[in-house]
């Protein structure tokens, strides 16, 4: 039989996380700090709205772009958080999670040979999505000494005349890094001067622990150059509902909507009704969860300080990214040894790009009790390694 498989897909590396997942899932009593989703249940009023939608028989397709009411609420939300107005009729698209928006956003703009700049460590799907869209991914290796923020010279050195778009993944998974207004201003200037676009993945925007998140779209002249990605998974603990959205200039949104329409039709109807309630009445729930995450974040940073494990203070998402270079082993060796000896699962930094070597991602989407037990095991492990 001939080989029927796509060369492009066959050449994609399987996710580095997958390999580790298989080892962890065989260990029954391991404590995992490896999860990239909230530990909270979706707030009840949101679930209730989903149930109510089902009871009323709202089980049909919605319009391709999503429920009008939901697009209007998304528009209000961006307006009240970032002061930027998006027209719900042609600039907002409701997608199956933020991930779909990343995929179709890239596909809508890429021509063969275009370059997509991806700062790493970052979420695992940017690079494969860029490749599948026919682009050439160009990686920027972010540095720990810059707290994993993107610096203007790093961007300038990477831009060529083939560069089409920069992916800006902040607040960042896996590092927890954020970009503040001053950081963004210099980046925005370069983007405008070099006439490129930016895809700003702000799925963790609601979870910051310094000042409120500043989106690059709020900066002068950036709205027309930005594909803003957000969603309900992280802020409202709605990962399983699979609901995200993009806000982008109407020319780009129109192209994205075509792909969405042919590939997906529309995002899940039940989830869309539930999400309306999230945006209308969910602010207090988000704040309550944010406060819990922040307490856990402080707890972890303090624990690292006490065991003298190097870790910069992350101000976003729900991850910390401690440095394990002092132990002279790779991230994967460290994570595997920690799992075997103390039954604690963390994710090797290399799962998020080669420059994650020397770091591990620890998620604090776990109860404090859980974190305490896990951290006391990590402390024991670290002391043993140091001899």
């Amino acid at each position: 039989m001939r080989n029927f498989l796509s060369d492009k897909v066959t050449a994609l590396k399987p996710s580095g996380i997958r390999k580790f997942f298989d080892i962890v899932s065989e260990m029954k009593d391991a404590i995992s700090l490896g999860v990239g989703e909230p530990d909270f249940d979706t707030p009840w009023h949101i679930r209730d709205e989903g149930i109510y939608a089902l009871e009323r028989g709202r089980t049909f397709y919605t319009s391709n772009a999503g429920l009008k009411e939901l697009r209007e609420e998304i528009s209000n939300y961006i307006k009240r958080t970032q002061g930027v107005c998006y027209n719900p009729d042609n600039e907002i698209l409701v997608t199956v999670g933020g991930s779909e928006a990343i995929d179709i956003g890239l596909r809508a703009i890429i021509n063969p040979g275009d370059e997509v700049i991806i700062p790493q460590p970052s979420y695992v799907s940017y690079e494969p999505c860029a490749v599948l869209a026919g682009a050439k991914p160009v990686i920027i290796n972010l540095k720990a000494e810059n707290e994993f923020r993107l610096k203007p010279d790093e961007l300038l050195n990477t831009i060529t005349d083939k560069t089409k778009i920069l992916i800006l993944p902040y607040p960042n998974n896996p590092t927890g890094a954020i970009m503040e207004r001053e950081d963004l201003e210099v980046i925005a200037k370069i983007i405008k001067e070099k006439d490129i676009l930016v895809m700003s993945d702000e799925i963790y925007a609601a979870l910051t622990y310094k000042d409120k998140h500043v989106s690059i779209v709020s900066l002068d002249g950036m709205k027309e150059r930005t594909i803003l990605i957000n969603g309900f998974s992280k802020a409202y603990a709605m990962t399983g509902w699979r609901l995200g959205y993009s806000c982008a200039p109407k020319e780009i949104t129109a192209q994205m909507t075509k792909i969405h329409q042919y590939a997906i039709m529309c995002a899940p109807t039940t989830s869309q009704y539930a999400a309306v309630s999230a945006l209308k009445k969910g602010d207090d729930d988000v704040e309550e969860m944010r406060q819990s995450y922040n307490q856990r974040r402080r707890f972890l940073l303090n624990a690292f300080k006490e065991m003298e494990l190097e870790c910069f203070e992350p101000y976003g998402a729900f991850y910390v990214f401690p440095c394990i270079k002092e132990f002279n082993m790779s991230s994967e060796e460290f994570a595997t040894k920690l799992l075997m000896e103390e039954k604690v699962a963390v994710v090797p930094g290399t799962a998020f790009g080669a420059c994650g070597e020397g770091f591990v991602r620890i998620s604090y989407a776990y109860s404090l009790e859980n974190l305490k037990e896990a951290l006391s095991r990590i402390e024991r492990f670290v002391h043993r390694l140091r001899g």
Partner: protein, 160 residues
């Protein structure tokens, strides 16, 4: 910090100062000072423990009693509420809007003791007009805590 401190303590009053300081991102001395203020101002009224007595061998019966009373001149409901809450077996007294006036929570060892309390002590008070007693059969959730909560993490162990 005050609101966040209260929210933490309401869930876990046994947490120590050191940990509170870490969670709130402030100095220990600031936590101590704030706690002292909260106690002085009567905002923190006690540090209690939520016990699931059903799992012990100690017998307890809890009843909620709706009480209709005649308010007294010049004192409203306060005087009669005080008469009732001074009984040590009374665990809680609330003034309620609606069909009756006071809601009394009573804890005793047996049904009979509750019956005796209602007929001998409560009903005989001058301003008590009538009572209706409801026995608690099972506690599902108390003080915001789900009793017998099944702790299971249904998430995949590792996700990106």
């Amino acid at each position: 910090m005050r609101e966040e401190l209260l929210a933490i303590l309401e869930k876990n009053s046994r947490i120590d100062f050191k940990e509170l300081a870490v969670l709130l991102g402030v100095e220990e001395s600031a936590v101590l000072a704030e706690l002292e203020n909260l106690e002085k101002e009567g905002i923190i009224c006690g540090y209690h423990t939520l016990i699931n007595w059903e799992k012990t061998s100690i017998e307890k019966v809890t009843a909620l009693i709706e009480v209709k009373v005649t308010p007294q001149r010049g004192q409203g409901f306060d005087r009669i509420a005080e008469r009732i809450y001074n009984y040590p077996e009374v665990k809680a007294v609330y003034l309620i809007s609606g069909g009756y006036d006071l809601l009394v929570t009573l804890e005793e060892k047996t049904l009979k003791e509750i019956a005796n309390f209602v007929s001998d002590k409560l009903s005989t008070l001058d301003s008590v007009l009538s009572t209706a007693t409801h026995f608690i059969l099972k506690k599902y959730k108390d003080h915001g805590t789900i009793i017998n909560k099944r702790a299971s993490d249904e998430r995949e162990v590792i996700t990106p």
